[in-house]
């Protein structure tokens, strides 16, 4: 299938590595931010923006574009790196993250940053917002799709399950949710803080199509996204098994790097690791 052209796969993986480097540099320059949950979502975002979604960086307001909502807004560094790489704004601007007067707010603001579809940061809102966009698309007889990325800790939020019901009730098959299942939230492991399992069964019981994949495999993300596009009559969730802090040895699986930026030596070490193609 040309869908999975090996050259293109290599390019996407290469792009993911560049995005990771941006995330490290940005959070280091800002002195704060959330590297862990940004790094776990890199392949998901890279595949969406550089393979799956129809969008036009030169025309962010294009009416027929696919929409993406970053429900776990603290992964803003990942989204900004993607948007800059795609051409929504200059790459140099990435280093202004969190600085006074910048367009790259600590959490995404749709009024500040070109390409950001919704202001987020308080967890649990994004899926409901995506549903609203999906209902509007249906009303306007538009064929564009709505994608949303949630964290697994975010599944604690009651509103997530309210919107899960709404999406199934209104058969919102234009909604695809990616669930970043990195097994960690802020205070520790998800199953220790507030157990989520059996997560797949929960989503199935709520009337969703459910797929489980390796969230760092671009190939699996592409296939799962295509399956979601072909699913009719129900919304789709793709549970992506990931590693928090993925790509940087000392950040992988480390709760500490949920909301802590790398200091000088850590930044250097991380960039060194990301230089080597893995």
């Amino acid at each position: 299938m040309d869908l999975l052209d090996p050259k293109e796969m290599d390019a996407l993986n290469e792009r993911a590595r560049t995005i990771r480097q941006h995330i490290i540099k940005m959070t280091h320059a800002a002195g704060s931010g959330h590297p862990g949950g940004s790094l776990s979502a890199v392949e998901i975002l890279t595949t969406l923006y550089f393979k799956i979604m129809k969008h036009d960086p030169k025309n962010p307001g294009w009416i027929d574009r696919d929409r993406f909502v970053l429900s776990k807004g603290h992964a803003a560094p990942a989204l900004y790196a993607i948007l800059a790489e795609a051409g929504y704004f200059p790459l140099e601007e990435l280093m202004t993250l969190r600085k006074l007067g910048c367009r790259l707010q600590g959490h995404p603001s749709m009024r500040c940053t070109p390409g950001v579809e919704m202001s987020t940061g308080s967890l649990g809102h994004g899926l409901a917002v995506a549903n609203g966009m999906a209902l509007a698309a249906r009303l306007d007889r538009k064929l564009h799709r709505i994608f949303v990325l949630c964290g697994d800790g975010e599944m604690n939020v009651g509103e997530i399950w309210e919107s899960a019901m709404l999406a199934a009730h209104y058969k919102l098959d234009n909604v695809t949710m990616f669930l970043d299942r990195n097994m960690l939230q802020l205070d520790g492991p998800t199953e220790k803080i507030m157990s989520l399992e059996p997560l797949t069964d929960k989503w199935k019981a709520f009337g969703w199509q459910v797929q489980e994949i390796d969230g760092h495999s671009i190939k699996e993300i592409i296939i799962a996204s295509q399956n979601a596009l072909r699913c009719h009559g129900k919304p789709s969730v793709i549970i992506c098994h990931t590693v928090k802090g993925k790509g940087v040895s000392f950040m992988e699986g480390a709760v500490r790097f949920h909301g802590k930026a790398p200091v000088d030596e850590e930044c250097e070490k991380a960039l060194g690791e990301l230089e080597v193609c893995r």
């Binding site: 969190r98 600085k99 006074l100 202001s119 649990g124 800790g153 975010e154 507030m194």
Partner: protein, 316 residues
């Protein structure tokens, strides 16, 4: 720090008080919403694992759970960031805590724009307003960490729903060595007869700095720490208004419906003196360094000095 004030974390003072309280009283129960490592309730969790419940990222659920525990005789502390512990679960606080007047102490951190880099989504500047208009709710904004520590011991002496607001950043310890804190009673930190500066939270230290600057200019400023925003110490306000004839309020909160508004209402009904409110303009915050934001939003000692000059000029 130019005054030689110690810079200390309110959150640390809070957790220290919580653990001591937990040792003294078995009815103390603590809830958090996946922020225990930040609010520091983790210290209580480590000391009393059976009396700590992490509710996950589910603040509304946490508030109603707290209500159930309180209705069963527990003294419940509920902690998270200010933005998530107020607006996000307002109905739960209103229906299940304030209305039935249950013994829940909502103690939050990361209030106001000093949150810094996280930006507007996390910088709640309207929480005091939200809590102040709830009947039965006591609202306390401690000035520093020693006062935070004293506050925690004081609020468990009654069974009233209570909101305690803390910031993220370390703050100068200006109440070090002051005697015990009393709910609803303002503290005069500095005497003066020309103008009164009333502050709450981190703005009290800035009022003190402003008073020093004014003194150099030959102006005697009275500084009042109004840590209890509700019930408001009207007596102290009216007395200061009559004796100094001009007033400035200072708060790290929306200029609407916080301390300044509360004082304006008291003055409007009791003592007609010129008033200037120093606070955050009615706009959302943004990312930036805390101090830079305090400057941009007009919350420095210099802003208070200027406000003092303005009311002095209007004074008859």
């Amino acid at each position: 720090m130019k005054h030689g004030w110690k810079m200390e974390s309110q959150r640390k003072a809070y957790s220290k008080a919580l653990v001591e309280l937990g040792n003294q009283r078995s009815d103390i129960v603590v809830l958090d919403a996946d922020l225990s490592s930040s609010t520091q309730t983790i210290k209580f969790a480590e000391a009393f694992p059976e009396r700590f419940f992490n509710c996950g990222i589910a603040e509304a659920n946490m508030m109603d759970t707290a209500a159930g525990l309180a209705a069963s005789g527990k003294t419940v502390f509920v902690s998270t960031f200010a933005v998530f512990g107020t607006g996000r679960c307002y109905d739960q606080i209103r229906q299940s805590i304030a209305y039935p007047k249950l013994n829940v102490k909502i103690v939050v951190s990361h209030a106001g724009i000093t949150v810094g880099g996280d930006g507007a989504s996390h910088q709640i500047t309207e929480d005091v307003a939200l809590m102040r208009v709830l009947p039965n709710m006591t609202v306390i904004v401690p000035a520093d960490s020693p006062e935070t520590y004293r506050t925690i011991f004081e609020i468990v002496k009654n069974k009233n729903p209570t909101y305690v607001r803390m910031g993220r950043a370390d703050v100068p310890s200006i109440t070090e060595g002051l005697e015990s804190f009393e709910i609803g009673k303002a503290t005069v930190m500095k005497e003066g007869d020309d103008v009164t500066l009333i502050g709450t939270g981190i703005m009290v230290s800035r009022c003190l700095s402003a008073a020093e600057e004014l003194k150099k200019q030959g102006i005697g400023a009275r500084v009042i720490n109004m840590s209890t925003v509700k019930p408001l110490d009207e007596k102290t306000i009216v007395k200061a208004a009559r004796e100094t004839g001009a007033m400035v309020t200072a708060e790290e909160h929306n200029i609407l419906e916080g301390l300044g508004s509360a004082v304006a209402m008291v003055l409007g009904e009791n003592a007609n003196v010129p008033l200037k409110r120093v606070g955050i303009p009615d706009i959302f915050g943004e990312s930036g360094d805390s101090e830079e934001l305090m400057e941009k939003y007009g919350l420095t000692a210099e802003n208070i000095v200027n406000a003092a000059h303005e009311v002095l000029a209007r004074k008859k």
